[in-house]
């Protein structure tokens, strides 16, 4: 399952409407490590279907969101719970580390 893409218009509704933890990957086309992370996030989205939401924000398409969350390197992954950021992870992460972050926020 591909992680859906969020933008300035869809972000707030997607984050605040979810009762499940939401993992958001801030990325860009010109980021090599982000590309390494893509299949990991797609796997995670499949395995956590119904338990968590995995989404992506392209910072070139949504620079306001990158500024709002103080992104200063990519990939940056933020776990949201009840619409609030509860954990930030910077750099490439293993699937296990991401799953653990989601479990901690559940």
């Amino acid at each position: 399952m591909k992680a859906p893409s969020l933008n300035q218009e869809t972000f707030n509704a997607a984050i605040s409407a979810s009762t499940q933890p939401v993992l958001v990957d801030f990325w860009a086309e010109w980021c090599g490590p982000c590309k390494m992370l893509t299949p990991v996030l797609d796997e995670l989205a499949t395995e956590h279907s119904g338990k968590a939401v995995i989404a992506k924000v392209n910072i070139d398409e949504a620079p306001e969101l990158a500024a709002r969350f103080g992104i200063t390197s990519i990939p940056t992954l933020i776990v949201f719970k009840n619409g609030q950021p509860v954990r930030t992870l910077r750099g490439v992460q293993s699937k296990a580390a991401l799953a653990a972050s989601l479990a901690a926020a559940a």
Binding site: A28, W30, C31, G32, K35, I59, D60, P63, T72, S73, I74
Partner: protein
Amino acid sequence: MSLTGALAAAILRNQMSTTMNPAPNLAQRPPRSPRARLGGYVILARILDKGRAELAGMAGEYKYNNPIDRHWFRFTGITAAALKAELATGKGDGEILTWVEAQAQPKRAPWEIQQWSAYHNERGPDGDVETLVFFTERVGAVSKTREDIRTWFDCLDLDDHVTFGGKA
């Protein structure tokens, strides 16, 4: 020519030599390496050399706004035509950089420029089979033994070196 006329011509020549940025002759030497940085951006210095050379009719085999250049244009939101028009005014690298920083959309933070440049510095042919074949053939055209050539910048640097008489 009168003494006054000769003096005026000399003054004009002197003014032009100090205000116009001379174009490199890319039939005689390569443009700067894509790795050369200007304002933190890779690729930009090379683009400027090719743009100036093209304006002066001295670009040789080099193409301004080629596929690698377009990565920089996309990242900054500046068009190839707009940059070329700015180069035509004769500005130097520092003045062009000031103009780029004013024009770029979206405005890029230093970390974005640094990370974008680092990505391109290490970027190899990571696309489809056709891209891999193109890369292999391009390297193979200049060397059958240089297995260390892994990135697009490696390939361009090697091609520049060999084109102007270097041994691969």
